[in-house]
């Protein structure tokens, strides 16, 4: 009975809030006038301007991925293999950009003085995704047995030869996995392109948004179908590539394979990585914070004060400060929804044989892009299913994006629950229902709480879906930042910096909360 409920809740949620909107989009794109018409979708290829957008989308994603790998692989080596003071801190700091809201990252590159340009887009993508590569590749790298490399050296291989014929092949699966994730993120990147690309640099994502806001719903739907085909194709290719390179490896499970820094090469690499990490990862945020205080007449809180007033010429309908309350409310609601749906889903995925299918299904909204979720909501929850005026749509969209994280974090924790604990409880007189309440839930709770922290942070920064469905009188912080950045004038720009700084502070607070939970977990089961 309970098993059915574990499945029913996530399946119903996914069906109504993801599958139904996507089907509606496909219907709009393929049956625009009530009969099958492939020309709008074909137009994505035949129309020169749309073809240009498709090309730019592919190109920027590919270049961003290559650049990210070039920057991140040395960093992954340094963090995985070299011992130096502050290593744990550097590793933690490198992960920070990944959880920062896209709008904040974009606005901090604006703070650095970047106007709309391709360079700014590429740099921002590298900034974001270094963490993905460092975590994925570095994680595997630190578990590779260094004695294999030693053995190759003793057998007469040069250092370069060791790297190309021993280390690199061993890292291949992690590099491919990281590269495909980065490519997917850059392909579906939205906030960064919208803010740093300007009107002349559009990707499928931003074009869907532009066409939809200009009420060209058929074109937007056609672009969405192209986007859907592209992302599904990428997921399939990535799965194939990784499947093929899944070789058994001698991994060192517990021991730390890091070694002391030795020789000029190591030292140069270490310093190079630390300096460039500080420059690439630290500078934008530092400049953002500084510029939020840097007013026309010295440093002060003018821009923060300005957030509480609604100026006559403003593009906003409410004072920006209200967005803080909205964001916190939405984030709280999204977290609750993500737990109510993701919690049962995590148990279903962890405990049943067909759980993998549910796991993939729940990850689809993330892979397919938040913009499509937002656009789908926009056209699907029009009358007769009219939910558009309800504020709940925003946290529901956020929850769709956050649920895969909640599930991925909680599943290993649930799987790790020792079955003997449940047997011990049974022998002591606990019924199956009681066992669930007394053993499973409390042990899984910590994993779910960490997932909840991520859900909160994700909701705070979510922009792609929110841009479509947040009502003008109830904007979130990212929406306000985007609007302010779109307006001329130092006052608007300064207010955007101030709002971005507040958003950074809220996100960091959520992440610190997670770290506290993690620390408490040390040494557990």
């Amino acid at each position: 009975m309970r098993r059915v409920a574990f499945w029913a809740i996530p399946v119903a949620f996914l069906g109504f809030f993801f599958v139904y909107p996507v089907v509606t989009i496909i219907g709009r794109g393929l049956w625009p006038g009530g009969h099958l018409d492939l020309s709008p979708v074909g137009g994505v290829i035949t129309d020169p301007s749309l073809r240009g957008i498709l090309w730019f989308t592919v190109w920027q994603a590919a270049v961003s991925t290559v650049l990210t790998l070039l920057v991140a692989l040395p960093a992954a080596f340094v963090i995985a293999r070299l011992q130096f003071r502050g290593r744990a801190l550097v590793r933690a700091l490198m992960t920070v950009p990944f959880v920062l809201p896209t709008v904040v990252v974009a606005s901090s590159f604006r703070a650095l003085g970047f106007g709309p340009s391709t360079t700014a887009i590429l740099l921002a993508h590298v900034f974001f995704n270094v963490a993905v590569v460092v975590r994925t590749v570095g994680g595997l790298w630190s578990h590779l047995d260094p004695r294999q490399e030693d053995a190759a050296r003793v057998l007469g291989a040069t250092r370069l030869r060791v790297f190309t014929s021993i280390t690199l092949p061993a890292l291949r699966p992690a590099i491919l996995a990281a590269a495909s994730i980065v490519y997917l993120f850059c392909f579906t990147s939205f906030g960064v392109i919208l803010i740093l690309g300007g009107p002349s640099r559009a990707t499928l994502e931003t074009e869907i948004f532009r066409q939809a806001t200009q009420l060209n719903l058929e074109t937007a739907a056609a672009l969405s179908i192209a986007q859907l085909l592209a992302t599904v194709a990428m997921l399939v290719v990535a799965g194939r590539l990784q499947g093929r390179s899944d070789v058994a490896m001698d991994l060192q499970p517990v021991t730390d394979t890091a070694r002391a820094v030795r020789g000029r090469g190591d030292r140069g690499l270490l310093i190079g990585v630390l300096v460039s990490a500080a420059a690439l990862l630290g500078t934008p945020i530092a400049v953002l914070v500084v510029r939020s205080f840097d007013t026309a007449h010295g440093f002060g809180f003018d821009f923060y004060r300005a957030l509480s007033t609604l100026r006559a010429d403003s593009v906003l309908f409410v004072p920006p400060v209200e967005a803080i309350g909205n964001s916190l409310l939405y984030a709280t609601a999204a977290t609750v929804i993500a737990l109510l749906v993701g919690g049962p889903a995590a148990f279903a995925v962890a405990r049943s044989r067909r759980g993998g299918a549910l796991d993939v299904g729940l990850a689809l909204p993330l892979g397919v892009s938040a913009v499509m979720v937002g656009f789908g909501f926009l056209i699907a929850f029009d009358p007769p299913v009219d939910l558009r005026s309800s504020w709940v749509l925003v946290p529901i969209a956020h929850a769709l994006v956050a649920i895969p994280f909640v599930v991925r974090i909680a599943v290993p924790v649930i799987r790790a629950i020792d079955p003997r604990l449940r047997e011990a409880a049974a022998v002591l007189g606990a019924s199956p229902r009681t066992i669930w309440r007394e053993v499973d839930l409390p042990v899984a709770a910590r994993g779910l709480m960490v997932g909840a922290g991520f859900a909160f942070a994700i909701s705070l920064g979510e922009f792609g879906a929110t841009a479509f469905i947040a009502r003008p009188d109830r904007p979130t912080l990212p929406v306000v930042i985007f609007r302010l950045l779109g307006q001329p004038g130092a006052q608007n720009f300064g207010a955007a910096m101030a709002a971005s700084t507040i958003l950074v502070a809220l996100t960091v607070a959520a992440m610190l909360g997670i770290e506290r939970l993690r620390a408490g977990e040390l040494g557990a089961f």
Binding site: A424, E438, A524
Partner: protein, 325 residues
């Protein structure tokens, strides 16, 4: 109290327990002794209702437990590696079974304190089970199993992961505790010393069947089968003129060639193959001349021979047991 009749438990294609009969009387301590993989743990799990039964029955006071789910069987079970609840403190673990039996809150607390005192853990109530030593965890597990006052207590390798000195102490404590509580106990272990020290009766199991059951003295002095003999460290041989027989290493003596006459009926000649020091004695492996059998001989006092020496062996009649199988 407990009766197991013709019990079989299937693991995949293999039978982990095969047609096993066993009973435990009120107040009795029965130790099931066997090597790992002999089906000991499976037997306990089947009695607790945690493992489906392929054939046979488990009866408590004559009542078949087939349709009684584990949480209604009212048995105490101390798991191997303890399976303490990591998210509860010491008293939370001990009180768990009492809460499940819906005792009033003040009684739960009182009884939990009482049991903790019984196992020597007063003052540990609010400690996290993660910060306990192996011996302390063992006591918490015992207290948790004892708290609801089960009439049958089952223990799976209760002293398993502890070091030697601690094992001896805790074994003595367990013995006192069993006497004091008057509870029926079914304990499984792979350790002879533990089984013989704690059990009123010892059942030696092999491949899911009971090879021999009896008092510790019976089993130790008269192993019934070749498996039991070998498991207890006896020699099994056909060469000593008693048919197939088991002989205890310390029932064999090395005798000088010229003391043959009179007292001893017969002796055997052999060559020393190996010699190893075992705390209070040497164990010497001797290859008998004219055959391919070897015998282990324990030498307590005399200076042991060196490898390659030819020696003459004599056997004490009370250490020689004819085998039936």
């Amino acid at each position: 109290m407990l009766e197991v009749r013709g019990l079989s438990v299937r693991y995949g294609d293999a039978l982990a327990v095969e047609g096993l009969d066993l009973s435990v009387a009120d107040d009795e301590v029965v130790c099931v002794l066997g090597p790992s993989g002999s089906g000991k743990t499976t037997l306990l799990r089947a009695i607790a209702g945690l493992e489906p039964i392929a054939a046979g029955a488990v009866l408590r006071d004559g009542v078949d437990l087939a349709d009684v789910s584990p949480h209604r069987r009212g048995l105490g079970f101390m798991f191997q590696e303890h399976a303490l609840f990591p998210h509860r403190d010491v008293i939370g673990n001990v009180a768990f079974g009492l809460r499940m039996h819906r005792l009033p809150k003040d009684q739960v607390t009182a009884r939990a304190h009482e049991v903790l005192a019984l196992v020597g853990l007063d003052g540990f109530e609010r400690r996290s089970v993660r910060e306990l030593s192996g011996g302390e965890r063992q006591r918490v597990a015992l207290a948790r199993a004892l708290a609801p006052e089960p009439r049958l207590l089952m223990l799976d390798e209760p002293l398993g992961a502890l070091d030697r000195a601690l094992r001896d102490d805790l074994a003595r404590e367990l013995r006192h505790l069993f006497e004091r509580l008057g509870v029926a106990v079914l304990l499984v272990t792979h350790d002879h010393d533990e089984a013989f020290a704690l059990g009123d009766r010892v059942a030696v199991v092999h491949a899911g069947r009971i090879e021999q059951i009896g008092t510790p003295a019976d089993v130790w002095r008269r192993p019934a089968t070749e498996f039991v003999a070998r498991f207890l460290g006896w020699n099994v041989t056909d060469s000593l003129g008693a048919g197939r027989a088991a002989v205890r290493p310390d029932a064999l003596r090395i005798v000088a060639n010229d003391t043959l006459a009179g007292t001893l009926t017969s002796t055997w000649e052999g060559t020393v193959l190996e010699r190893a020091f075992h705390r209070d004695h040497f164990l010497v492996r001797v290859a008998l001349s004219g055959g391919n059998e070897t015998l282990d001989v324990a030498i307590h006092d005399a200076e042991p021979p060196t490898i390659g020496d030819t020696v003459r062996l004599a056997v004490d009649a009370d250490g020689l047991v004819p085998l039936l199988d």
